[in-house]
Each structure stands twice: as C-alpha cells, then as structure tokens.
Symmetry: C2
Subunit: 278 residues, 2 copies
C-alpha cells in the first residue's frame, strides 16, 4: 500500500500503529523516531528502522503519522513540514483536534488529515504497544475543508488497513464529544483515586476494596503527563463537561441531603438505563 511510512512518537499509540503497519504489510519500511523510546521500540521490533531526527524520519516517507501528545503535535509538524516529500500524506493520533486543525488550515497543509484513534490502555510506552490495539477500534477522522476527497480517502484507507472503523466528524464536534466520553471519565477516575489516595489509611482502603473501585479507577493509572497535556489542549470543552458532571453530582447529593429517596432512585435509574444499553 505504501513503500515507506514514518511514525513519530513510539509510545503506546505510535508503537501500536507502527507494529500494525508491519504485521499487516501496509508498508515495507516503518521508519520510527522517538528520542526517549526509540531504542526500546526497535528492540521490540515495532519499527523496521530508526531515524536520528524527525527530519530524517520523514524525508523518504509516503505517509507520516504524528503520535505525540497533543501539545507537541503542532511543533513537530512545523519541524518536519519542510522535509516531507511533496506528495506525502500526513495524519496524527492526538486526542484533541481543534488547535491542530486550525493550525493546518492556517498553514494550508492540504495533505494532512487529522485523526484520533479511540484506542488505548491505562499502560503507556512501547512495552504496552501491540499491533492488535487498533483492530476493530474506531478512528475519528476530522477532514479539513482544504483536503481533497482523494487525500481523505487515502488516509482513511491507511487507518482501515490497520483494522480500524472510520468515523468522520468535524474537529469542534470531536473535541466536545471526547471531552464528555473520554476526558471527563479520566478526570473522574483521577479525582476518585486522588481522594482515596489522600486518606490516612489509603493502603488499607485499597486492600479492602472490591471490583467496583478497581474498574472505576482503572484509567487513573494512565500517564499523568499525557492527561495533563490533553486536559490543557481541550480546556474549554473539558471544563464545560466537568460543570455538567458536577451538576449531576449535586442533584444526587441534594436528593440524599433532603432524604428525598424517590428522587435519588429516579436519578440513579436514568443513569442505569443509559448504561445498560451499552
């Protein structure tokens, strides 16, 4: 499908993309670059070769994947852009899409199609990467008004070849949606784990807990650096989502404080009905 693909950033997501490309034969060469995790990714055979700089990684690539935290993506595109082949396609894997899309529009990056694979794990780094991570996962594509249909189609084919199911969405809609369905749940899990970890008997509490606490806080084991970064990049939408969550929490709390148990049960029932249809 491609001769050569460059993957910049070889953590959980970049490493999984790179290894899926190799395993599925989407390209013969996968040139990786990651100043921290590069050597480990090569040792794990996630990439076929390593470049010494982002510029070197992209110069022969037919398709470039940027798989670094949202706040680093724009700077990395800026660094690489003068060195990519004129017909090369570009895509990314960042969890927020607004700022990146605005940048790409302002700089007329017609071959760049912003993307967000809805896949992950509370683990991080190349050791957590696996080619099957994207198998059956949704990938949200946020095509730009300056992308040609052909460019969108080709980048979509790339993600599909990794096993992903495509979903098209405007960048603004993406950022509101994922503030609610992904960023907010991470915040809730971090806040719950923070609350428990701040108790004097935090170790004992962990030992006395059951499956409920374990599942509810699983994603609080995710990378703090990445999630602080995602939160900053989607600040406005995330703060709106948090305010909505606090509204729900306050409604439950008021029902309990006033001993209005039928109201409490009815709020819980609405939540249950929605969750049961998963």
């Amino acid at each position: 499908m491609f001769n050569s693909i460059a993957v910049l950033g070889l953590g959980l997501i970049g490493g999984s993309i790179a290894s899926a490309v190799l395993q599925k034969g989407v390209a013969q060469r996968v040139i990786g670059y990651d100043p921290f995790a590069g050597e480990r990714a090569l040792a794990l055979h996630l990439v076929s070769e390593l470049a010494h700089s982002p510029q070197e990684a992209v110069q022969e690539a037919d398709l470039v994947v940027f798989a670094v935290p949202p706040s680093k993506t724009i700077a990395l595109i800026e660094t690489c852009w003068p060195h990519v082949k004129s017909q090369a396609l570009l895509t990314d894997a960042a969890s927020t899409k607004g700022a990146i899309s605005d940048y790409a529009l302002a700089h007329q990056l017609k071959h760049f199609v912003p993307a967000h694979p809805i896949a992950g794990s509370e683990r991080s780094g190349p050791e957590a990467a696996q080619p099957k991570l994207l198998n059956g996962a949704k990938v949200v594509l946020c095509p730009l008004s300056i992308n040609s249909a052909e460019v969108v189609d080709k980048v979509g084919q790339f993600w599909s070849a990794l096993g992903a199911r495509l979903q098209l969405m405007h960048a603004e809609e993406h950022d509101r949606t994922y503030a609610l369905v992904s960023h907010l749940p991470h915040w809730v899990a971090f806040a719950l784990a923070h609350c428990l970890s701040s108790q004097g008997d935090a170790d004992q509490l962990r030992q006395l807990s059951g499956a409920g606490l374990k599942d509810t806080t699983r994603i609080a084991a995710s990378s703090a650096a990445l999630w602080a970064d995602i939160s900053q990049q989607n600040k406005k939408e995330l703060l709106d989502a948090i305010a909505d969550f606090q509204g729900s929490m306050t409604a439950l709390q008021q029902a309990l404080e006033t001993d209005n148990i039928p109201a409490l049960e009815s709020l819980m029932q609405q939540a249950k009905a929605w969750r049961e249809s998963f």
Copy 2:
C-alpha cells in the same frame, strides 16, 4: 456443617449464598424466602425448598442469612426473631452495618454476627446469582460486644466454607471504609452516567465512546433501588466521602483553570501511583 440454613432474600447476593451452600455441601437443606424472586430462585435450583413466609423459613433453620437491602434488614430480623430456634445462628449481607449493629445490641441478639460480603456485580436478581460469587471474596465480619467467641467463630466458619476470606472490623470503621471504597465509586459512576445520559446526543455519545467510559460507568448499571437504599442507610459517612471527592475534583479543576499544568500533573500522578499499586 449445618442441617438446615434459611436464606431470606434471593437476589444476586442471597441467591449466590444459597447456591454456594448447596454446591459446597455446607447444609443439606436450604430454605429460601423471597416474595418476588422466590419462584425464579427455586426454578434455578439456588435453594432446595421455598417457605411461604419468613417465619416459616426460619423456624427449623440452624443458621439464618438475611440478604435484603439494608433498610429492610432490621424489620425482617424483628419479624423472624420470635420464630428462630434458640441456638440458631444469624448473620446478614447488608452493605451498611452501623444501624443494624445498634439494633442487635439494643435487642441483645447474641447469636447475630453482622457481615458484609465484598462481592457483587452490576447485575441483580436470582438470574445473576452464581455459587462462585463468594469464592475468594472478602467477607467483613463486624462482631458485636455481646457475641461469644464461639458464635463469632461458627458464623466465620460458615462464610469461610463458602470460599470467602474473613476480615474483622468494627461496624463504625466498616461504614466509613465502605463509604469510601464502594458507595462513593457507585455515586461517581451514577453521576457520570447521569451526566452523559442528560446530553441531547446521549445515544451517539455512547456509540462513540471507548473502554474508559465503559469501565468507569460499569457499576452505574447496578440496581437503583438498592443503591438509593444503601446511600440513605450510610448517609453521614457517604456525604463525608462525597465532600472529600469534591475536594479532589476542585483541586484538579483549579489547576486547569489557572493553567498550572505542573500542579495538575502532580495531582494526577498521586492518583496514578496509588492506583498502580492495586
């Protein structure tokens, strides 16, 4: 171990206890009583026989297990108490222990040892019951000052025979602990699912979500009636736990609002470190 055990309440927990008693041969007869789920429990072979009233269920039993929601437990004990054999042992499975212990002390129920199996599922009813639910699960025993060592030992042996690991705790400590490790996570899951379900595009949001939201809200599919009941029964401790959670959420929120990303990362890192040691 026993000739005959009565289990009052044949939902997820009572049904699982009853079927484990039969499967492990802890008693030959398991007499069940549940005005709603009784027939289904008998059809599922969770009990060996059904009684027509709680009084009838307990009159020949060597051990009685009360497995109804916390707010119903005291009234059910009151109903049954005059009909139990003089040497019969009593235990329960309610998620809150303070009020039940106070009642048992006030009424000198020397053969009653309050218990709380730390096992469950977001599913409910006898159809969700399974004998292995208690296998390897913790059961918190909250012995009363009026219990003899022999009574505590025998009731402990009963729970151990079902595969449970015993943990002794004072009722007050139990209620604070489980407000934090169980009731609060349920509230957070209910509030998060309520928040998402209140959005105009709630159905689409569910379809666009990934594993994070799914795990974080799993226990929001639990019985709303049961959890409204548990919340009311542990109101004071739960409201304290919610206030602690809100403190953690506010700390994260303030860090984001003031763009103090190092502070945000550090709060998330504390949560992550605690969760990783699970």
